[in-house]
Amino acid sequence: MTDPLLPVDAYLVESLPEIWFGAVLFALGMYVVLDGFDFGIGMLYATRTDERERETFLAAFGPVWDANEVWVVAFGTMLLAAFPRVYSRLLADNYLLALGFVLALVFRGLGPELREQRDDERWKRYTDYAFIGGSVFAPLLLGMLAGRWLFGGATLPVALTGVGLVAVSIVTGAAFLAAKTEPGLASELRAYGIGATLAYLGGVVVLLGTVVLTDAGGAADAVLSLPVAAVVALSVAVGLGGSVLARRGQYRAWLASALSLPTLLTILVAILLYPTIYPPTGLLVREAVVSPLALNLVTVLGFPVLLLVLWYFKFLYGVFSGPIEGEGYGG
């Protein structure tokens, strides 16, 4: 039986494999941006000792983190659906990193959930360790996984990618919290945010410099290109501009610029990968993609749903917009 609704032997549009390459990285970008600020909140949480401030932090991300986290599953399954070879090699070649990342997510997710279940100091301390530890290790290991994806086994660039994701998560976490809390707390948070911004920008420059000098993963040529230079310049401008806005107390504007940093980082990943999709094997996007019928199907069924999902997120963030009212994590 052939399906009359969908072309079987040709992609719906000629560039559909490239569109899917973009779609998969879009899901990754959504994850890095949205769960990124959740991780940042988790790390900044470690700097608070006051119980009320900690609860404010938990209330800030309580209603949304679950939904944010789903983007990583969307990313993984979309990668599997469109590029099964990349999905299987990436995860099989980086077995411990991948499982380490998901285990860190387990701890990050359970910590706050369990914390409110029991009124006991020691219980709270342990669940806080789980929350903070998970929030540090999840972006670190995810960044390292991305580093391995881009640069193969080169140690320093891989480590720097991990640290870079940690730093950018602190930036977005601080900006998100600053926009939702009272001025006193916000001005304390912006100091962390500005410091992390400078660390992040410095880290990106060192990372790319290392890649050029050592030609890690054969990516030197890709780094020395105009698009990469443009993205880096834009990141520096946005990062520094955001820091100025933060100093002036314009936290909503700072948040907008802070969220564009991980977005630009994902674009950087896309530029460094394309036209290959798994540099360690030299596999190209067109070689790794599934057959036309399968890709057409996930496009026709999946893309409208993706738009619907974005609408849900708009609704969700709309419901919980504005300053935190201190309703606590437990609701």
Partner: protein, 482 residues
């Protein structure tokens, strides 16, 4: 230098690891066992949550507000556990079984991506509203949120079971060579998504989730009613759960019987393992089977068992009416699943299924006489039975999954061929240990959360902890030890 080399440096001879295949199978089996408990908790609780939310908003009666608030907390805890156990699973296809992911990617990737996008997001987004948005959205939006969360849970099961059903009865593909590897290419989406197994599996699994949660709700309600008989809210919940059980438990038996015939048609090897039927020919049906010796536990051939059997009824059931029908035996195959596990799991599941029907009928009779809450014996029975739904659900899952071995995709790809070639025994064993330790902790925590919620509920109902004595029951979370 990781922990593995460190261990090896101490004394290589002291450290032995499982093979990557065995460790990966155990890891996947273990993680899915834990995950499925929480996933089915969401599915089964969904109707309760929707009903309580709707009644609460509509009637403004205090009992529904109480029930809604309690069970939404359980749902939320279960959802978090389901998420944190589900995310590792979505990556394990790649980490442990990359050959499977690559061979089947084109067929299973789509449904898995649809699950994330259509179902998982829906559940996660609107659960946020359900948990935190009572004062931030209108009543109607609030009720709709509960419906969307429940719908998400049921839709999630739909897409996941499309994948699993395809692995049991694969259709709609052809094998082609891509990047030097034989992979499945999608040729017919309708055939691939709506495989013969799909409707059977979906109905059986959703109903199993409803039964499991009905038993759980009944158990918790019975416990609270037993401690405080005049609570209107929990008498309502108990009644509701028993009514749901009266519908779902007998239905599962009728449906399961027909499902068995379908398995015999499509996976005769699995059917033979379920019945420990080795020689092709007429099959008896073993209603009850006891091992004569410990060996028969691991090799349950009919001769090694004391059985209460209906002669030729196995043939009758397998064929749907013919007592002389030939049933294919395990000796026809070169490689068989671990027969004992499948045989005993199947008996365990069916046995529990009949127990549930008994409990449902008993409850129905008591309800008819208007004595449901007064029968201490029934309340205690329901408290004791509260975890058994999950025991039946898990053993049923073992029949399905272990029963299809050695195949990961029936007739197409063996599990041994699906395992990662780069994975070492050390990596697989260490992560297996990690998952076991972590998930045991997780399940204990889930039980404690339920216990704390029940205790808090009793406190808010005015039951003093010392009153009513201690419960020396078989389940840890109801024993009040402190």
């Amino acid at each position: 230098m990781g922990p593995i080399t460190l261990l090896g440096a101490i004394d290589p001879g002291l450290v032995t690891f499982l093979s990557p295949e065995i460790a990966s199978r155990m890891q996947f089996g273990w993680t899915i066992s834990v995950h499925i408990i929480f996933a089915s908790l969401s599915i089964g609780l969904a109707p309760f949550i929707i009903y309580f939310t709707w009644k609460d908003v509509r009637t403004n009666e205090q009992r529904y507000a109480r029930l809604r608030s309690f069970w939404v907390k359980v749902f939320a805890a279960g959802f978090v556990m389901g998420t944190v156990t589900g995310i590792p699973m979505s990556f394990q296809f790649g980490t442990n079984f990359p050959q499977f992911a690559e061979v089947a990617g084109e067929l299973i990737g789509g449904p898995l991506a649809f699950e994330a996008k259509m179902a998982f997001f829906l559940e996660a987004v609107f659960l946020g509203v359900l948990l935190y948005g009572r004062d931030r959205v209108e009543d109607r939006t609030y009720v709709i949120s509960s419906v969307l969360v429940g719908f998400g849970a049921w839709l999630s099961g739909f897409w996941i079971l499309i994948v699993n059903a395809w692995m049991q009865t694969p259709r709609g593909y052809e094998m082609v060579t891509r990047n030097g590897m034989e992979v499945a290419k999608l040729t017919d989406p309708f055939a691939a998504f709506l495989t013969p197994r799909m409707p059977w599996m979906y109905v059986h699994m959703m109903n199993a989730s409803v039964i499991s949660v009905a038993l759980l709700v009944a158990g918790v309600s019975a416990y609270i009613v037993w401690k405080k008989p005049d609570t209107e809210a929990w008498n309502t919940a108990l009644k509701l759960a028993v009514v749901l059980l009266i519908i779902s438990a007998p239905f599962q038996a009728v449906h399961g019987d027909a499902y068995g015939r379908h398995v015999e048609d499509t996976q005769p090897q699995k059917f033979a393992a379920m019945e420990a039927h080795y020689e092709t020919g007429e099959a008896d049906l073993h209603l009850l089977a006891f091992p004569k010796s410990p060996e028969a536990l691991t090799d349950p051939r009919a001769e090694n068992l004391v059985t209460v059997s209906l002669p030729a009824v196995g043939s009758f059931l397998a064929s749907g009416g013919d007592f002389d029908a030939e049933v294919i035996g395990l000796n026809e195959y070169e490689e068989n699943p671990p027969v004992a596990l499948v045989f005993w799991s199947f008996r365990f599941m069916v046995g529990l299924g009949f127990l549930f029907i008994g409990l449902a009928l008993w409850g129905g009779y008591l309800m008819y006489r208007g004595r449901l809450s007064d029968s201490t014996r029934y309340l205690k029975a329901m408290i004791a039975a509260s975890p058994f739904g999950y025991a039946a659900l898990l053993t049923g899952w073992y029949v399905t999954e272990i029963g299809r071995q050695p195949w990961v995709i029936q007739g197409e790809l063996k599990t041994s061929e699906a395992v990662s070639s780069t994975l070492t025994g050390a990596e697989a064993t260490l992560t297996l240990v990690g998952f076991v330790v972590l998930y045991v902790g997780l399940m204990l925590t889930a039980l404690y959360i339920l216990k704390w919620l029940v205790r808090e509920e009793l406190r808010s109902l005015g039951v003093r902890e010392s009153s009513g004595g201690r419960w020396h029951g078989p389940i840890p979370w109801v024993s009040s030890d402190d």
